[in-house]
Symmetry: D2
Subunit: 402 residues, 4 copies
């Protein structure tokens, strides 16, 4: 049998943190004893608890502690963090500490040092420049990597409190919610983000264009409500196609019917942009005169087109190397306050993996399973909205651009 | 081996009718020979074809002919229709002819006589008043019922033609369609229906209220754009609850959050309406002062609340006998030109079974499976729109009520 | 401001009960103070807490207390229950206490009296025969009905504990779960139910027959693993049709293809059963020789066919009055230990409303939205399994019938 | 006005080809005249038709002809194909002919020359080695590329005929189908593919592992029923993780419950494989001793792991460059007779784009929208099966491996 005492602090009862911890302990087959608990009397007060955990062996305990720390339960007996140097480029020491997306500190020489850029599923490296997260592919031989679980502190994120309209929905994803109210609230969050100079990041899938919401998103970019875009070849192509040729996947968006140009339109558009050498060059040359990509280029706003195996062409701006694409996204993440994931699965999950836990994230999709899947992947701070992205983005434009 | 020659007339090629017929013949294991075919040269011209069908035995042929007739292929050798008298109330003669929802005629004494009210899955009865469809439960001993398949002619419904925006969507149900365009088109169909004095029937489920679109539908009723409502206890209750108490399923629609009245609200509302004796009485007494049911009552428009086994209460207006409910719906169907099925499965299928094939039907639901299911059940003239009913009905109001 | 002190006992921390209560209080805009808390040290120990709740006014407090009691938080200052007599048949006194499906007691003359048959959304009546729940339509003038919230005690249901395979799934509905393991576990629950002489209730939709699982369910009935069935006209018709004619909705189940009998098959089958007068008479006469309904009739097991507005025919056994149907279901509920809801929405929700909270309930459907909807409606003890009902029931038969 | 006469040959009526052509003509706003039609009398006979198409201008006509050719309608006045040389690497001449996935020929010096490897959305290049398709990124300056639409002939693919069980399902995707029968039929197609030495390609998503079907797919590989795998980092990682550690996404598959190793398991497994340098090296070293990847490596079978922006690590075998990944897939495609797409969206669409139209393709997913989306993207020959991939693959193993 192996035993360890953990402590956890915060709104551990009403934010369900303590309950979640005990749930994990029992589910793993371990046992617990609540050593002491100090429950904040009122809603605003913090609570603290110390819990002694007993597992069948050291391995099971280590694994369990790792899970518990992902919810903010840290070991009481905090020693300094342990380090090991990487021996090979791109390979971590076997016992590396695997990060959560929560605020994290490591103890070095008895002092707690904050890790600079919280990101899920990374290692922590420590050097003269301080502590920072490091994705596996970026580790270089000789890098000093945190191993084991000593000297690491993770701060649980509180469930947001107060009389806001998302409270009653947080627990479950369902299409049967008052949508006009949700729309107004998302618009409000975007307004507040801009007020505090936080960036609004949009992650979009091609369905946004097919449902006719391209001009709405373009208007939001032009109006200064969107500050960066993560998407793929399909979205950018159909956005440009619909502006250059008035069609998307060969379907005329303004007329509704009428297959004017046919299914090869998108290929011809990609081919032309390849000839120009980049979307920006095509905008410069006057070939692209409107749409989401046009507005981004015109406003000098950053975008990342991540490649995927299904891409036709692709557009010259696409990062065909997916590791490079993710790294390009990492450059843009700092400063993001609100992330809108619009009818995107692949890029939304990719982005969710990169974002710190504190970023307000809204996943909008007509398919409930997609929204559930995003939450399954660890983006617990995300709020799922099951609705039609076409009508939703149109509504956002009406709210924000008047 | 059994053989029969059929003929079919109309836009049998471009409306896919001939293709569908040959498909059914081969799928059933039978064989065919095209005796002659006269293809209309241009798009506007009619075509005719005669097809000789050979099946393994008489039973297989009879079954196949029944299927083929449901798509407008009639036997060349038309004799008079055969009749048999029902022996027992509510039970048809074994060989009864089972109707489609297409325009149908029967031959009596060498003359073709149109069946008054086409409805799917009924029998045809003939009396001094003419020929009409009869649901099974309404047959009375002594009624003269058409049996076999002699002397029956069914007219295939053309797939609507012309440059309208639904054409490219007719083949498949998908959420990736330009929604603003679809919305504008449905609004246009409603406008045209009113112009030609056809009724607009709404079939609604409770999710319409939960998504916050109750006031929008109420405005459409008040504006004269809706002429009848088929729904159930849940919709009516939540509509009244949201107007009397401002909540739906205990969720405040205006505030979004805040569980003010709790889950028993709907029970208390039902109980009060039961005390008044009817919704109309509760409107009269000033207890209900707004909402969809209020506007219907105020305008003297008909509605049918069909009972279901899951009903709480129910409201006094609910037809707890489902056979009586369907009969009440049958009273309202004549004159309906457009049917909008909004987030409803049960009542939408029930209504789809009652409507003649020519009624323009739009099924709006966020769940693609529901829309597919409606088509599976025989409502082939229905156009499925996979979108958020809350935002869709809000959009309809904006289009129609300004 | 209005204030009340509540107490709650049980595994209130690890079963998330306390967290849920505080969540509801804050969400409603009220405030709380934890007066005292006694947390069980170990997993097996009970905990108790007393919480003082303060709301803006008496109405808000009353509504909130009602919500909280539905989760097992009862008022400390327990007076006797208050009663009022119903004035009209079918109408409750305005302030009636609305039940949960949890074990409930009322205090009469200082003694706690258990309510006989817990059912959601009912009233409680008290007479010489004791306390029992009463659906609204069954109240008669003069019945003594509990009003207000004095003298009522509700016992929170513990989240089931221990190393069982459903633990990690309880929180969310997803299709990405190890299905073979889930299947084995549901089979085990059915075995245990039979061992303790608890009944297994199946609630089924017609898709079960369409997916080819009819013979599997029939084998489970024949094997003694199913003790009652709640369903509708469609399921029973397609079950009988597939056995009499070998088709379901006109699709041959054994051959896969081949539209042998056509879409009117189900009507002819209904008509024949109507001629016999009942399913049992048709079994007796040898017209029906296999299938789910045949096995139920042969074994003398009860079934309820609840009517719905979309029914063709219907079969003579269908309760066309939905209130009568629900009452017939209520007769069968006592003694049910396991409820399997198989590809059914309407009847599953109806049944969920009737079942006491302690019944182990499994909702199997391929559509995640349906499973979520069942949970939304209050059947929180239900475990959702998103899978193909056809393959699932086949697997159950293999597990239970060898 | 611009006019052209087309001819089409084959089972143009019962395979719906003519109907589809006329539909496209009218939908595009053009007009047609059927110049002559020769309908095959019996089911086995071929039919031919010549149709004169008139569009508003040359551009509209060109676009329309392109659409029509994708369905097998070729111009009567066949001249030789026209060529233009590419000026820049990776950029096609503006008027390039965009391919379908149907069998295609080009006319050179009056002779028809078959294009070697039909693939959708490519160009056709002609050199001393003959005609072949060329994806855009592979074109090199100087390559001779087919432009315009002269001298190109496309052969419509017949809808498969005969008494096979998929006929009645071809038209629509629905979860309500007899699943045991479908399973048996897919197994039969795999058997026949092996008999004629055609390869069986599996395209899989990670949900296959989460639903517990990994061992079943591994058994199918071991049994010689699978000859190649296209998938991504997630599937391979979870497959290896579940074999090395007995978990998938931190969930124990054998126990069902119990979060033994936690969410970082997959990262540690990726890190170890990176240390070995490849999956094959890890198999060689005895680190991986079972599972799908193990069986593929052991049998020397090819697999392609295509990168995506959401990849952790990734595994050293992943093609991080997506264009290289697609090229690697192209190497394997020739010889594939059956493609099984199992719970995969991204890789399934990518594969669908690469496959010639004649490959029998089955898309298995629990989500109807995914299956519809695959068809939307042009893989019209794909049969969608809406079911639980976990139980489906288990069933396939039972059928094929005994």
């Amino acid at each position: 049998m192996a035993t360890e005492t953990l402590e956890v602090e915060g709104h551990i009862i009403d934010s369900l943190i303590l309950a979640k911890l005990l749930d994990l302990i029992v589910a793993s087959g371990a046992d617990y004893e609540i050593v002491d608990i100090d429950v904040g009397k009122a809603n605003a007060d913090l609570s603290t608890a110390r819990v002694r955990v007993t597992a069948v062996d050291e391995d099971a305990l280590t694994a369990l502690l790792e899970e518990l720390q992902a919810h903010g339960a840290n070991r009481v007996s905090a020693a300094d963090a342990s380090f090991e140097r990487a021996e090979t480029d791109g390979v971590l020491p076997a016992g590396f500490y695997s990060t959560t997306n929560l605020p994290t500190s490591i103890r070095v020489d008895g002092h707690w040092l904050e890790v600079a850029n919280p990101e899920m599923d990374c290692a922590v490296t420590f050097s003269a420049e301080g502590a920072r997260t490091l994705p596996m592919h970026r580790v270089r031989a000789g890098d000093q990597i945190v191993v084991g679980s000593d000297g690491i502190r993770v701060t649980a994120l509180e469930k947001p409190r107060g009389t806001h309209p998302f409270e009653f929905m947080a627990s479950e994803v369902s299409s049967e919610k008052p949508k006009a109210r949700l729309l107004a609230e998302v618009a409000e969050r975007i307004r507040r983000a801009r007020e505090r100079d936080a960036k609004v990041l949009v992650v979009a899938g091609p369905a946004l264009i097919h449902t006719g919401a391209g001009p709405d998103l373009a208007a939001l970019v032009k109006g200064g409500w969107v500050h960066a875009l993560f998407t793929g070849n399909g979205f950018a192509t159909h956005d440009i196609e619909s502006n250059v040729l008035g069609t998307s996947l060969g379907v005329s968006l303004t007329e509704g019917a009428g297959v004017e140009g046919g299914h090869s339109n998108h290929l011809r558009v990609i081919n032309e942009i390849r000839r120009f050498g980049s979307i920006a060059a095509a905008v410069e040359a006057g070939y692209v005169r409107g749409g989401v990509m046009y507005e981004l280029v015109s406003a000098g706003l950053p975008f990342v087109l991540g490649g995927s195996v299904r891409d036709d062409g692709p557009l010259p701006d696409v990062h065909t190397d997916v590791v490079a694409a993710a790294d390009a996204m990492r450059e843009i993440v700092p400063g993001v306050g609100v992330a809108l994931m619009l009818a995107s699965t692949l890029h939304a999950i990719a982005t969710g993996n990169l974002l710190p836990a504190g970023v307000e994230t809204f996943c909008v999709d007509i398919n409930q399973a997609v929204v559930t899947k995003l939450a399954d992947r660890g983006s617990h701070q995300a709020l799922g909205i099951v609705t039609d992205v076409g009508l939703f983005v149109q509504g956002l434009r009406e709210q924000l651009c008047g």
